[in-house]
Assembly symmetry: C2
Homo-oligomer: 511 residues x 2
Amino acid sequence: MNYIIGIDVGTTSTKALLYDTDGKIYAKANKGYTLYQDTPDMAEEDPDEIFNATLSAIQEVVAKAQLTDGKVIAISWSAQQHSLIALNKDFKPLTRTLTWADNRSEKYAREYKENGRGMAMYQRTGLPIHPMGPFYKLLYFKNEQPDLFKRTAYWVGIKEYIIWKYTGVLKEEISMAAASGLLNMKTCDWDPEALKETGITKDQLPELVDLTDKFQGIKSEYAKVMGIDEDVYFVMGATDGALSTIGVGAIDSGVLAINIGTSAAVRTFVDKPRIDPKARLYCYPIMKGKYLVGGPINNGGIVLSWAHDALFASEEQAAKLLGMDSYDMLSKIAATVPAGSDGLIFHPYLGGERAPLWDANARGSFFGLNRKHTKAHMIRAVMEGIMYNLYSVTLALKEVTGDPKAILAAGGFAQSKLWTQMMADIFENDIIIPESYESGSLAAMFLAKMALGMEDKLEDIKKYLGKENKYQPNEETFARYRKLVPIYLRLSREFSTEYKAIADYQREFPG
Amino acid sequence: MNYIIGIDVGTTSTKALLYDTDGKIYAKANKGYTLYQDTPDMAEEDPDEIFNATLSAIQEVVAKAQLTDGKVIAISWSAQQHSLIALNKDFKPLTRTLTWADNRSEKYAREYKENGRGMAMYQRTGLPIHPMGPFYKLLYFKNEQPDLFKRTAYWVGIKEYIIWKYTGVLKEEISMAAASGLLNMKTCDWDPEALKETGITKDQLPELVDLTDKFQGIKSEYAKVMGIDEDVYFVMGATDGALSTIGVGAIDSGVLAINIGTSAAVRTFVDKPRIDPKARLYCYPIMKGKYLVGGPINNGGIVLSWAHDALFASEEQAAKLLGMDSYDMLSKIAATVPAGSDGLIFHPYLGGERAPLWDANARGSFFGLNRKHTKAHMIRAVMEGIMYNLYSVTLALKEVTGDPKAILAAGGFAQSKLWTQMMADIFENDIIIPESYESGSLAAMFLAKMALGMEDKLEDIKKYLGKENKYQPNEETFARYRKLVPIYLRLSREFSTEYKAIADYQREFPG
Ligand SMILES: Nc1ncnc2c1ncn2[C@@H]1O[C@H](COP(=O)(O)OP(=O)(O)OP(=O)(O)O)[C@@H](O)[C@H]1O
Ligand SMILES: Nc1ncnc2c1ncn2[C@@H]1O[C@H](COP(=O)(O)OP(=O)(O)O)[C@@H](O)[C@H]1O
C-alpha cells in the first residue's frame, strides 16, 4: 500500500493527515503558530515558524502511522489565501508573512474603491476590493515602504515559500495566484495591468503551474527528519477555499458548498468567469473550465465562541461539572427558545466583515429586545444571526450564479444538530452534511492522486466522501424566518451608516 | 404635636408616610395590588382593591407610629396620572381603572396623530398624542363600547374615586385634570372642544378645585378602621409627577427634576404654557402661574432590572453568598469597564417608549459589539443607555424651556454612586441629589400644610429637604460621552424605521 499526506496550512494552525490511496486516514497532526499584531491593523506570521510547523506535523503523522507495508509517495498542499512575503535575491524573507487579516493596505483599497479602479481590477482579476488582497498589499509596500519594496527580488505567498524551502523550486499554482489579485482570470496568466499598477515584474513572481503539478527534489535533510523517502512527490495543491469546496464534493456548477468553521464561506464552481456587478464575491480560475465564485465571511463560529465566553462563562463551569461539552450546552439552551428568538435579531459583525458587506468597520448588534428576552434568546439569536449573514451571501451568489442545485455544508458548526437544522430552515433548502470531516486535506490527497495518474476527474472524489446526512426545512419554522430575514437585511443597510462612527470611537479609545 | 399622612397611590403599590408637622417621618407602609392584563394591550387595576390598599396602608402607619401626644390632622394625596374609571349614577364602577399603560385606544391616538387633530388638542390641553390619555380612552369607549359609554354617569380617575369613597365628595384638582387631556390649559377649566370630541358633558366630571383644596367628612366607619379622628382633613394633593417635582425642591422655573425609579421622568416648572412644536413633552397647569413641562419615560430602572435578571442570574447567587446587594454588584461590575463601554451603545426601549419617541413599537438594542465586549460591558452599556435616553428627553426640554439652571435627581437609581456620576458625565452638568428620599409623599404632606395655613409658598418646601449631594462632571469621561451621544441619537432615528416590523413579528409569534 502507498500513502499520501494532505496538508493544510491554515491561518491559525497547520493540519496534516496521512491517508492510504483508498482514502483511509492513518494519522492526524495539528501544529499552531503565533499571530503578530503589534498594531491593531497588523496581522503577520513568521514564515519559518509556519515552515517548522509543517515539518513537525508531517514528522508526527509519519511517526504515528507506523507504516510497515509501503511508503509516502506524495505530499499535497492546501493553504490560506492572500498571504504575502517579500524575499531578497537569495530567497531570504525581508518581511514576515502578511495574512489575509492584515489591514494596513486599507487606505489603498478604499482609494481604489472610490476612484473606480478597484472595480476595473476586480473585473480583470476577480479579487474583491479589500486590503486582504496581495494586490493592495503591494500598493502599501510600494508607497509606504519604498526602500523595502526596491530591495525585494521576489513576492510570494506562504505555500510557495514553504515548498521552495523544502525543494528549492519556486512555483505557484493558478488558484493561489488568482487570490493574489495579480492573475488575469481570462488568460490565467499574470495580469499586465495589475503588474503595472503595483510596479512589479513577472520575474519577481513564481512560475505559474496547474494544481496537479508535481515534482521531486526534497532536500535530503528534511526528508530524513520527516522519515520520508527522497523520491516523494510534492503536489502543488490549491487554496484552502478551492480544496474545501472540492472536498465536500461540490464539484458540479451550481452546487453550493458552505463552510462554517472559525470563519465561514459560501462557494460554488462555475464553468466560466462570473463577475458580481456589486463586487461582493470573488471569482478565481481554478483549472480549465472551472472558476470558483464565493464570498469569504469573517464572522463564523468565532462569533459563537465569543458569545460562549462573554455570556456563558458561569454556565461553562456547570457544564464541566456535568461532564458536558459547553458548546453542546449552548445548543441545548438555544433549543429552549422558539425559532426566531421571539423577535430578537443579531448581526454578527464583531470583527468587521468581508462578504457581503466588505466593511472593516462593521460591528455586531442585538435588535428587537423586549422584557421577555433572556440570555437563552441571545444565544439562539447569535446562532441565527450567523446564519442570516451566510444566507445573505448566498442571495448574492444566487444573483450571480443562479439558483443552487444543492447545498453541501461542513465545518465545526455541523456538530450541532440544532444549528444545522436552523440552516435548513433559514435557507428553506435541504442541507447535506458529508460525513467526512477534513475536507481540505482530503481534497489535497485527491489532487495528488490525479497528479500521479491514479484518478482522472474531480467528480470522482465523491467515492471518498462516505455517507451523507440530510436536513430538511421545517415549514412551521421557516415561516418565521421568512418574516425575520427581510428585517435582518434592511437593518444591515440602516446600521451601515453608523459603523464608521462607532469603529472610529473604538479606535480612538481602545479601552 | 400634630401629624399629617402623605399617601402616594402609584401604579404598582400605594405608599403611606406619617409625618409630624416638622416633616419628621414616624412610619411608612407599602401595599401592592394586581395588574390585570387579559390581553397584551390591556392594563387595568381594581379600584376597590386600590381603595383597600390605601385603607390598610393608613391603618398600618397609624398603628406603627403609636402617637401619644397629638393626632393626624390631614391626609394628603399623590397619585398616578391618566387613570380612568366609568361610574354609574350611584357611583358604582362599571369598569376597572384603566392605567396609563392601557393601550387599547392606540388606534384613536394614531388617527388623531395622522389627521392633525391630536396636535390641535395637544395645543389646547398639553396632553401628548398617546393612548395613555383619558381623552383617547374616552374615544375608545365611545366607539368600541357604546352601551357602556351611554350607561356611564361619571368619568373619574382613581384618586377621585378613592376620595369619593372615603368622603362622598367628588372633586378633582387641576394637575390631575390636566393629565386627562380634558382641561384647557389657558382657562384651567374643562375644555369645550375636548368634551365635544369625546361626547361627554361637564356634569359627568368632578368639580374642579385647587391642589390645596381641603374638606372634612370622612365616613365614620373608615375613620374607625384607620384609627383616625373624624375631623381629619382630606387635602386634594396632586399628580405624582407634580409632587415628586415639588418634593425634590425643583420649584423655580428652569430647575430640572429628574426621577429614575421603575420608570423615569424629566420635568420642570415654567410660568406660562409652553408647547413643544414636536409634541414630545406634556404641559400641564398646576396652579396659578405654574405649569409643569416634562417627558414621561417608560424605560427607567425597570430596564436595569431586566438586565440584572436576564444576564446576571448566576452572579446574583454569588452576590447572595457574599451578603451583597445584587444591584450594588452590578454597579461594581460596570465600574470595571471604561466610560463609554468601549463603544457599545444600548437603546433601552424594551417596552416601547413614551418620551422622546412616543412609539409603542420601539424595542431595545445593543450596537457596536466587537470581540472585546463582555457581559460587564453590556451592563455598563445598559446603565449608560438609560441615561442617554433621559438626556435626549432633556435636550427636547431645553428646546422648549431653555437651558436648565440646575438639575435635581431622585429615585432608586441614586443608590448607585456610579450611575449618578454617569449622569453628571453624560449631562455635562452638576447633578444634585436631595437626601430626602420619598419626594412624592413629602410634597403631599407639604401641600397639606399649605392647605391648613401652616405654610404659604411652595418654595418653602426646601427647608424639609435635608442636605444635598452634588456630583460634578469629569472632563475626561464626558469627552467620551460627547462622541457617543450623537451616535446614540442618530441610531434612534435609523432604528425607528424597523420598530414596527419587529414589534409586529413579536405580536404575531408571542412565543
Ligand atoms: N443598588 C442599586 N443600584 C442601582 N440601581 C438600583 C439599586 N437599587 C435599585 N435600583 C434601581 O432602582 C429602581 C427602583 O427605583 P424606585 O424604588 O425609585 O422605583 P419605584 O418607586 O417603583 O418607581 P416609580 O418612581 O417609577 O414608580 C430599580 O428598578 C433599579 O433599577
Ligand atoms: N458542539 C458544537 N456545537 C456547535 N458549534 C460548535 C461545536 N463545537 C465547535 N463549534 C463551532 O465550530 C467552530 C470551529 O469550527 P472548525 O471547523 O473546527 O474551525 P476551524 O475553522 O478553525 O477549522 C467553533 O468556533 C464553534 O463555533
